[in-house]
Amino acid sequence: MWCTYACGSSEHTISRRGFLAGAVGGALSSLTLDPFTRPAFTHELNKQQKRVLMIWLHGGVSQLETWDPKPGTKTGGPFQAIPTSVPGIHICELLPCTANIMHHLALVRGLNTAEDDHSKGAYIMHTGRRQEPAMKWPHLGSVCAKLLGSTDNPLPGYIHITPRGNGGVNSEDAAFLGPRFASVSLSDGHAPANLDRPAALTEVADQQRHEFRVHANQRFLRSRRTAQTEAYTNSYDQAAQLMRKRDLFDINKEPPCVVDRYGRHDFGRHCLMARRLLEGGATFVKVMHTNYDTHHENFDFHIEQLGEFDRPFATLIDDLHDRGLLSSTLVLVVSEFGRTPNINRNYGRDHWSRAWSIALAGCGIKGGSVSGKTNAEGTAVADRQVNGGHLFHTYLSALGFNSKKNFYIEQRPIPIADPKAAPIKEVLA
């Protein structure tokens, strides 16, 4: 394929993730998998630099111990509801710092995702769709990497900071969007591998190698310029840019007092890294906090886990706001589902997707708003029931996109969000 290299399309850039994973060849093979970009979209995306922060409370946080407390009821548990910075909105006492920033948050209390399985619930909350045998849908992170990311950004478009596991690329997340928009996991907040120049390679030697490569490339390109060769060259440039940005992954560059404000435990460190990445131009950052799958001793465990969550989260929102980033950063606090109103014999709560809650903040979100309502004991949605599809529309609308639009696969329109759902307008600014 000969290149019309004035087009500037994203097809002509190689995956920076592929490069970092040492899979340049694999990345090159994906160059033809990106037929979806339409000029209208590109224009829409580039209007403003917007970002997304997803806080993933892994295992299924209890809505009754967070956003929709029911104190004094059979299902309410032992905790109290506390007032927030928004008169009339109360949340659980386990979130005192979050209560102080409620004017930045919106609550969706009428969520019914009708799926109590961990992986299927996670799929709904990441894609806005139920699993289908014949179709894999891309994660919100991949969609945002596609719609919001810019081709000259050296940072991965969808970064996932996880407290454990292996780092690397999760190709399936991007589905038909292609591996370029897949998530890159940073295990325990460690930077992608190979960002540092090998110790055995001096700076001078590195520079000499770079100059030699450029020289050889230029000679080759004079006679054989193709999309692949262009992408190959770009991959090196982007990798070099990313290496120059490696400090973004290092929270030790922050003053100790700032690290202390976030907390020195995993979630505190990871929230601070998220702030550094978002500030440094990252498009979509997901921070996982684990674990909330509290079939046993739900209340003791929520004291511990939300005790970790509350302050770093509120600090992060405050910092984004103070730095002028919150209005252009959509923030989601989500799980795969909530937890049963019923308290089991082991002081636990089990999986529950029929009536639960999430929180939103930032870009396009009406701070201090609440959508939906559950009944007195939280066993059913009483008003304004929504599902994962509504959430996906809401996210896209909050970011300024028309969520009714399509992706195109070989000219075939694929709705970005579930056509049966619509945005939750009550929480949109």
Binding site: K74, T294, N346
Partner: protein, 339 residues
């Protein structure tokens, strides 16, 4: 007319005596020192009192959250007719004092006890001091006659789950989530030494959470033994996969005398323990159903056990030494006769 002799106490003949029912799961239970009543703390934020003979039930309202901590004071001058008091601690951190008797007791004193849950209460043998502990990592000593805070004992680094006075009244024991057991000099307010019950604690790296703690704690009447109950061998904290364990300490040396375990495998937590004046130890557990076990101090395995109808969450011994009370998830207090 002659009275039939009271049967000898025999744990192997333990049987259900009576069931007292409430409509909310129960967390803790205690007999009052006179032996007339059994009290329970419930998940509906109420304390419930039953008259043991008549079964008459009275609901004591005043708490705003769950109640597990219960303790009684005869009054420092009971001989002069001081009112007998029940202290109950809840999960908003308040301690309420109630008259034990009366048709419908109302709280006569409210102590702002702890930031976070009050986990346990204990009254000194002379009836002058109330000890409390909670999620603020503190142990507190209160004057029972006046209700004043006398002392804060700081030193635990996590939630404090239990307190108990040594029968000599000079030492107070506190135990926490991580199995640290501290011995305090009551007069000086200083920690003297620590006992190690860390086997009742685990940090679960999969779920990234702390689990365990000393869920029940008691002395033998002579003060030579201290029993700490909880869960061990935890392989999955969030599913409660582990086994009940009672760590029996030789109090003087501070060494573990015995680790008391169920002979038949059981999954769950030991939520209650008592040491009988005759020397045997009784424990109850909940998790995969409910169980009652009896051990002798010189044998790690129980010599008798009884399947309970539901998950048991607490255990107390009646002043007559024959009866046991247990609080259950299904809202019942059940009394059992050991003979």
């Amino acid at each position: 007319m002659t009275t039939a002799p009271t049967p000898k106490i025999d744990p192997a003949k333990t049987h259900l005596l009576k069931e007292y029912k409430h409509d909310s799961p129960l967390l803790g239970c205690r007999f009052d020192p006179s032996g007339q009543f059994v009290f329970a703390g419930a998940q509906d934020n109420n304390v419930v009192r039953w008259h043991l003979d008549s079964g008459k039930k009275v609901v004591l309202t005043g708490h705003k959250s769950w109640i597990r901590a219960l303790a009684f004071a005869a009054g420092p001058h009971a001989e002069r007719g001081d009112q007998k008091l029940l202290f109950s601690g809840d999960y908003v951190g308040r301690i309420l004092a109630w008259p034990v008797d009366g048709d419908q007791p109302r709280p006569i004193r409210i102590l702002e006890g702890h930031r976070g849950w009050v986990r346990a209460l204990a009254v000194s043998p002379d009836g002058a001091l109330l000890a409390s502990c909670g999620n603020d990592h503190l142990v507190k000593l209160w004057s029972i006659p006046g209700g004043e805070l006398i002392r804060e004992l700081a030193g635990h680094a996590c939630h404090v789950y239990n307190v108990a006075f040594h029968p000599d009244g000079k030492r107070l024991i506190s135990a926490d989530l991580k199995g640290i057991v501290k011995v305090w000099d009551v007069a000086k307010g200083e920690a003297e030494r620590e006992l190690d019950a860390k086997i009742l604690y685990k940090y679960d790296p999969s779920f990234r959470a702390d689990h365990g703690g000393v869920r029940s704690m008691t002395f033998s009447a002579d003060g030579s033994l201290l029993a700490c109950a909880g869960i061990t061998n935890v392989s999955n904290a969030f599913a409660g996969v582990g086994n009940p364990l009672i760590v029996l300490f030789d109090y003087k040396s501070g060494k573990v005398k015995q680790q008391l375990r169920p002979k038949t495998p059981f999954q769950g937590t030991a939520w209650g323990v008592v040491i009988h004046p005759e020397g045997f130890i009784a424990g109850v557990g909940g998790g995969n159903g409910g169980m009652l076990w009896f051990w002798k101090a010189d044998n790690a395995q129980d010599f008798f056990n009884l399947r309970l109808p539901n998950n048991a969450r607490d255990l107390d011994l009646h002043p007559d030494g024959r009866r046991l009370a247990m609080a259950f998830f299904d809202g019942a207090v059940r009394t059992y006769d050991m003979g």
